[in-house]
């Protein structure tokens, strides 16, 4: 399978600020790829390089098998982009803007356009200046989903959408994947990423810090365990991979590195287990750990 996006060692500086510092990113064709990172990590800069709007200082980027800087127009013919903050022309109606974008991408699927307008509950006759933030976002989303393209690049696309519309958005992304399209989704809504993405890349300070499927990433992280025991716990604190141990009488709470879970369970069993809950790490915990590294080094 060819990759939809390959990026290696990408660097980009603005004056003295180093926005990208050797970033790597691989997006397989047909997958929904989550692109995560704290504010200012370089997500939007990466996307703008992928769109050929910025020229990288160093490193290589390929989008749909081409160089996005030299072959911008050919690349753009096959992709649709939704920015996180959509600005519309004040005196053009939403419908006009949707059709314009679709035409500039080389074709609109009329039936799908009308269906999407219906699903997103958008009034296409309103002028650009009268739309709320969420509705401006819908205009760009409808234009993107209605376009006949192979790759969708979505930069925090759901900012300003209500939960119902977020659900519509998620269904649309799933439909796109079912049609074999590739989606690069930059988002801070972790539930959305967990639900939609096949693989994720987490970046920090212009570098990729983690990349893989959610299962792979979870493996690297901790499971939280809460247990009610029959007798007093014994020796838990000496086990490797146990963190944040909190014992109150016979109630035990702890975090354990997922690959050391077995030893912990055996130790708990030795004291007799009355009840046990174990939660796999959420993406949020994963995320927080990478985000907070600076504050609390591992």
């Amino acid at each position: 399978m060819t990759r939809a996006i390959t990026v290696s060692g990408l660097c980009k500086s603005f004056g003295r600020t180093r926005a990208l510092d050797g970033l790597d990113l691989d997006v397989e064709t047909g997958e929904v790829h989550g692109f995560l990172g704290p504010n200012g990590a370089g997500k939007s800069t990466t996307i703008r390089v992928l769109l050929g709007l910025l020229r990288a200082d160093a490193g290589a980027a390929q989008v749909l098998g081409r160089d996005p800087w030299t072959d911008a127009v050919e690349v753009h013919r096959r992709l649709a982009y939704v920015p996180g903050d959509v600005t519309l022309w004040r005196n053009l109606s939403g419908g006009e803007v949707i059709d314009l974008y679709a035409r500039l991408r080389g074709g609109v699927d009329r039936r799908r356009r009308d269906e999407l307008i219906e699903r997103f509950e958008l009034d296409p006759t309103k002028k650009g200046r009268t739309y709320s933030k969420g509705n401006r976002q819908k205009v760009a989303l409808v234009a993107a989903f209605a376009s006949d393209v192979d790759l969708l690049i979505l930069d925090e696309p759901t900012s300003g959408l209500d939960p119902l519309m977020e659900a519509v958005f998620r269904r649309c992304v799933e439909e796109e994947r079912d049609r074999g399209r590739t989606v690069l989704l930059s988002s801070h809504v972790l539930r959305e990423v967990e639900e939609l993405c096949d693989r994720v890349s987490i970046i920090r300070k212009g570098r990729t810090v983690e990349s893989g499927t959610l299962a792979e990433l979870r493996h690297l992280t901790r499971t939280s365990v809460t247990a009610e025991l029959a007798g007093p716990p014994d020796g838990l604190s000496r086990l490797p991979g146990v963190h944040d141990l909190d014992v109150r009488g016979r109630r035990v709470r702890l975090q354990v590195d997922t690959d050391k879970l077995d030893a912990v369970l055996r130790s708990l069993n030795a004291s007799g287990v009355r009840s046990l809950t174990s939660t796999p790490p959420t993406l949020e915990e994963l995320f927080l750990r990478h985000y907070q590294d600076e504050v609390t080094p591992r």
Partner: protein
């Protein structure tokens, strides 16, 4: 001055309860003045300079009492020139200054007032900034009050500068003139405040007020061409007519100042009344819905859709200006022909041969200079689209940067030709003869305007941060063209302007060398600018 009374109703003493509708006015006023710390001083200084430099200019042109008396007599007999500048009420230098620049200073003050008020009322609501401000301790009437006070500050400063600067020519006249100009500014500031309540978009509010200003100019012009003493009812319908009827330095008629004061008070009251009856961000003229489906076929069509309104506005202006200048040609030639120094200046500005040719040539040249403002504003649409973030999604479609830019540039450079053709049509209509020669005279201006447009493209493509410096280039060329000839500047300085190299038509010889050279320079500038645009990052 006249205006301050209306808006500056002092804030009610602080009471613990009650609506406190003016709460926060002081803070908002400081915010407005801080945001306008460049714009207001520049407008005020330019307007004041225009007024205060006029006595000297007039003194060089009409140095003796006899010359000034002759000028007055000629104006009394020349209705087309009176339409342009109004009647002369007295032949002292002070009165002539008020005559020559009064209407224009008033118009500039009006533009300042309307820009300031709309910027701090409807603009703030439209952008959503007002919502955040008004969520603080800000009374319902505070935003409008702060905007009107900011306009009052600007107009008071202008009135004081004019009164102080002209005091040497008669204190009463200077004060009356300052009040008349500042009062006109406040009439349009409060009118803009009303418009800002009516429309949902700031642009439309500015457009409506500017439209009324244009109508005021036309009414006054019509009235003044009909009568020689400003007594026509048409003149009295126009705030600009009130200004001239104050008659500074010519037996001031103080009571006339009551008219702008009354208009200001009534309009401010109306604006407050309307503002109290609507919600934040709402308007009395709601936006109409647009089509649900679009027919814009591509980047070029989008560029035309975005620029067509302003092209239409410029077209109207060029055609009308052509008709007006063409129509006053004969009258102006009669007047200038009797004054040796004025004739010299006209000949330096324009051609050599007959005075008619010189006049027509300098009018074509003037419109050509103004066309450079059009071409810059049109080229800078690219910059506006890019910095607002609207260009980014378009460029993320299958649209190359050059194709995206080409649409706007075709309108900018092609539009220049179109405007000069309209100017030629207008001049021919007004003058009634020699359409062929006038088309040549106007079209020959195009390469010079293109060079300025090319400079704007170069700045935009290569130094995007400095794009707005293109306005500086255009204004520099404008100043060289308008003021240069009467300042006795050395030829090397005058040669900096591309317009200085153009053949003087009609009357002069059509030399192709400079025309082709300027066209080539413009093409080179555009090419270099586009090459830069292709290579650089898109500005976020």
């Amino acid at each position: 001055m006249t205006a301050t009374g209306l808006a500056a109703r002092p804030a009610a003493p602080r009471r613990p309860a009650g609506p406190r509708r003016l709460a926060g006015t002081g803070t908002l006023l400081r915010l407005a003045l801080r945001r306008d710390r460049v714009m207001i001083p520049v407008w005020v200084a330019v307007t004041a300079l225009m007024v205060l430099s006029m006595p000297n200019t007039l003194n060089t042109l009409y140095g003796t009492a006899a010359e000034r008396a002759q000028l007055r007599a000629q104006m009394a007999a020349n209705s087309s020139l009176r339409a342009l500048v109004g009647p002369v009420f007295d032949d002292s230098l002070g009165a002539l200054t008020a005559w020559r620049v009064g209407v224009y200073a008033g118009a500039l003050a009006a533009v300042t007032g309307l820009l300031v008020v709309v910027r701090h009322t409807r603009d703030e609501e439209e952008s959503g900034r007002q919502e955040l401000l008004s969520s603080g301790m800000v009374g319902r009437r505070a935003p409008l009050t702060a905007a009107l006070l900011a306009a009052a500050v600007a107009n008071t400063a202008l009135a004081v500068l004019i009164a102080a600067g002209l005091a040497g020519r008669g204190a009463a006249g200077a004060v009356a003139f300052g009040l008349a100009v500042g009062g006109t500014g406040m009439v349009f500031a409060t009118l803009a405040a009303v418009a800002a309540q009516l429309t949902e978009s700031a642009r439309l509010a500015r457009g409506l007020t500017a439209g009324v200003l244009g109508a005021a100019f036309v009414l006054r012009a019509a009235g003044d061409s009909a009568t020689n003493d400003g007594s026509s009812p048409l003149t009295w319908l126009s705030p600009l007519g009130w200004l001239e009827n104050v008659r500074p330095f010519a037996g001031e008629r103080w009571w006339v100042l009551l008219l702008p004061a009354a208009a200001t008070t009534v309009q401010a009251g109306l604006a407050y009344g309307l503002a109290g009856r609507r919600d934040l961000g709402m308007s009395f003229l709601p936006t109409r819905p647009g089509p649900a489906e679009g027919r814009l076929a591509g980047a070029g069509a989008l560029a035309w859709r975005l620029q067509r309104g302003s092209v239409l506005g410029w077209s109207t202006g060029f055609l009308l200006a052509g008709v007006v200048y063409g129509g006053m040609t004969d009258g102006a030639v009669d007047l200038v022909g009797d004054n040796e120094r004025a004739r010299q200046i006209f000949e330096r500005m324009g051609g050599h041969a007959g005075l008619t040719d010189a006049f027509l040539s300098s009018m074509a040249g003037m419109l050509g200079l103004v066309a450079s403002l059009y071409v810059v504003s049109s080229v800078l649409r690219l910059h506006g689209e890019e910095t607002s973030g609207r260009a980014e999604p378009v460029l993320a479609c299958a649209v190359g940067r050059l194709r995206w830019a080409a649409g706007h540039l075709a309108i900018a450079f092609g539009g220049t030709v179109w405007l000069m053709l309209l100017a030629a049509a207008g001049l021919s209509l007004g003058y009634g003869e020699r359409p062929g020669a006038l088309v040549a005279a106007c079209l020959v201006q195009v390469p010079a305007a293109w060079v300025i447009g090319g400079a704007a493209v170069l700045l935009y493509g290569v130094l995007p941060r400095l794009t707005t410096a293109a306005w500086g280039v255009a204004c520099g060329v404008l100043l060289l063209g308008w003021v240069g000839p009467s300042l006795n500047l050395p030829q090397t300085v005058l040669d900096l302007s591309p317009y200085g190299h153009l053949p003087k038509l009609p009357g002069g010889e059509l030399t192709w060398g400079p025309v082709l050279a300027l066209t080539a320079i413009a093409a080179a500038l555009v090419t270099a600018g586009l090459a830069g645009l292709r290579r650089r990052d898109v500005v976020a």
